[in-house]
């Protein structure tokens, strides 16, 4: 288990908001916003893997990309190694880019089809180092060895590779500048099940070897259970629960997490027969028009009157275990909430 007492915080995200404006009408006035990420707070300790799970469209990929400043954030702060990069200009960001990299979901789309493998892996080296041609090639070979690619493939093009090999190229590119923090945006979702395990094991080995810190975004709960030290659950642009892995999987506190975990397939048919699934009613509300109060109140099986009025605060309900749910606030708070206007 990860040792939190002695770990430093590498990444701290506070109240991160990313709203995409919606324009309409003849005059193209802004009439609303899609709240893709709406007030997300978490921190990632050095050397750990934080899993970020949630259903499709809940904003987890957007959140990961926003942390790396691929988008202009609407509000909030992103602190990496003590400096807040949320409002930095592209020129300023350029200097910190080597520290933070990303592994993309679709290995086909994330590799430029007109560049060779050595060109793709060497691109960040061109950008940030002034190696000679020979040194660069040596570094490329070193990276290819690290991710288990045959050196002979250096001059081939991405379309000549299988999905798993392409993902290895993407990982080698992310590693090229010795980053400390890597956002893995569903790195295995586009791969064959037999290849998924290989890639996840590779990511784990690289983490040990280079002391990497991961934000591992996935909708595959079993894979996240395998790789993550702590897990954050997202629903409609907000983190609803954040806890170390075992407490989260063994005793989920938030009704959404409970429903999500009950949906994980059970391999044992005898156990499968006795599993109680929590079936959620209705659809996810539009992030452009989220419900009043708690975002989950329209589908929550344990919804209370207060949930429709007041958005629950994201707070620590057990050591290291955070959740945003009125069920877990002590009674005083609930009364206070009910008397509030």
């Amino acid at each position: 288990m990860f040792d939190y007492a002695n770990a430093d915080r590498l990444v701290e995200v506070v109240d991160l908001k990313l709203h995409f404006p919606v324009y309409s009408g003849v005059l193209r006035r802004q009439t609303g916003a899609v709240k893709a990420v709406d007030g997300v707070t978490f921190e990632i300790y050095e050397g750990e893997t934080l899993g970020l799970v949630g259903e499709s469209g809940c904003g987890k990929s957007t959140c990961g990309r926003a942390v790396l400043r691929l988008y202009e954030v609407t509000d909030g702060s992103i602190t990496i190694e003590g400096t807040d990069i949320a409002t930095w200009s592209p020129e300023e960001l350029r200097r910190v880019r080597p520290k933070m990299q990303m592994v993309f979901q679709d290995p086909q789309a994330s590799l430029n089809p007109r560049m060779t493998v050595s060109g793709i892996i060497g691109e960040p080296l061109d950008e940030h180092t002034s190696l000679s041609k020979k040194e660069k090639l040596a570094r490329i070979y070193e990276l290819m060895d690290a991710v288990g690619l045959n050196r002979d493939f250096a001059h081939r093009y991405p379309h000549e590779f299988s999905g798993g090999q392409r993902q290895r190229i993407g990982i080698a590119r992310a590693l090229a500048l010795n980053p400390r923090f890597i956002v893995c945006d569903e790195p295995i979702a586009a791969l064959d099940v037999s290849i998924q395990a290989q890639v996840v094991n590779l990511l784990e080995d690289l983490q040990k070897e280079f002391g990497l810190t991961y934000l591992f975004i996935s909708h595959d709960l079993s894979m996240v259970r395998h790789i993550a030290d702590r897990v954050a659950v997202m629903y409609l642009g907000k983190i609803v629960e954040l806890a170390p892995r075992d407490p989260l999987y063994n005793e989920p506190k938030h009704p959404y997490t409970q429903a999500l975990l009950s949906a994980v397939p059970e391999p044992d048919p005898n156990l499968e027969a006795t599993t109680q699934r929590i079936i959620l009613e209705g659809d996810v509300p539009s992030p452009a028009n989220p419900p009043e109060g708690c975002n989950f109140c329209t589908r929550c099986p344990r919804v209370m009157e207060i949930c429709h009025r007041i958005d629950p605060e994201f707070r620590e309900i057990a050591p290291g275990h955070y959740a945003a749910c009125h069920l877990h606030y002590d009674h005083d708070d609930k009364n206070a909430g009910e008397t509030a206007p």
Binding site: R97, N112, E127, G170, R173
Partner: protein, 294 residues
């Protein structure tokens, strides 16, 4: 594992070029285009060897001779050999195509990729300028430009270039819009690449095939526009053996002396048809879906 044990690979661009040529030769229409283009280029290079007469020397005793009698395609109203003038005219035609293409391609590519990649304000301004150019028929607009600049071959080239870049820019912009959200562009941004670098290294190479196809198809229009300007007396000036201008002067004798307009007309027809067919063939040859077959 060292470079010595690795099989030597041909440079990828050469392999691609060879494959494209092989692909073009497989279909009869694009093969025709390729062959006519090759003949045009060879004719232009070896014009002094191929021509039987000096294209500028007048022979007033031998005006309007029928084809034959030492003049393959006959002579014009000043006794100049039409065949030799056609041969030398291919140089003018190639110059026009070449200059227009190297002016139009980069301008269109730059305007299109910049407007597509940055979007917003850049896009609005650049595309409205493009719209203004597109809202006139290209021949009319070139006529206006030549009239303002004064009739000459160079001004005709400038005028044609000014009217030919907007469709290229539109195309490059549309292509850029499909690539700019791709993950590998995000990856380049994550590496800290500047917008200039992304446009130059990632977006332009992706737009290049379709732009090349469009340019090839455009060449037919360029030839026809140049011939049209020549015909109206606003392009190449006499005594330059420009094909359009040759038709213009031959028009007066057309009823009795058909060869004056027929041969330059056939030359224009063959070359513009060849470029159209070649462009069609290139569209198939450069189709990204065909990439895996190479």
């Amino acid at each position: 594992m060292t470079a010595a044990t690795q099989p030597r690979r041909m440079p990828q661009s050469l392999i691609a070029l060879r494959n494209i040529l092989a692909f073009l030769m497989r279909s009869p229409t694009s093969a025709f285009g390729l062959v006519v283009l090759a003949i045009l280029i060879l004719t232009a290079i070896f014009a002094p060897l191929l021509a039987t007469h000096d294209p500028y020397v007048q022979d007033l005793q031998n005006t309007l001779q029928r084809p034959g009698n030492g003049h393959l395609f006959g002579t014009d109203e000043l006794g100049r050999d039409i065949y030799s003038r056609l041969v030398y005219g291919s140089r003018i035609t190639l110059t026009i195509i070449f200059l227009v293409t190297i002016v139009v391609g980069p301008i269109g590519l730059l305007v299109g990729t910049v407007s597509g990649y940055f979007g917003g304000w850049w896009d609005t301004v650049l595309m409205r300028i493009t719209d203004i150019f597109l809202s006139f028929p290209s021949l009319i607009l070139s006529l206006a430009f030549v009239a303002a600049l004064g009739p000459s071959l160079n001004n005709a080239i400038i005028a044609i270039s000014l009217t030919a870049w907007p469709p290229i820019a539109r195309l490059a912009r549309a292509e850029t819009l499909t690539f700019r959200a791709a993950d590998y562009i995000s990856a380049a941004r994550l590496q800290g690449a500047s917008a200039t670098r992304i446009i130059w290294k990632s977006i332009m190479p992706m737009c290049l095939p379709s732009v090349m196809i469009r340019l090839t198809l455009n060449m037919a229009t360029v030839i026809l526009t140049a011939a049209g300007l020549g015909f109206l007396g606003l392009g190449a000036q006499p005594p330059l053996p420009e094909w359009g201008a040759m038709i213009a002067t031959g028009r007066r004798y057309m009823i009795d002396h058909w060869w004056l307009v027929t041969f330059p007309g056939l030359a224009i027809l063959a070359v513009s048809l060849a470029f159209n067919l070649l462009g069609d063939g290139l569209r198939d040859a450069l189709d990204p879906k065909q990439m895996n077959k190479r």
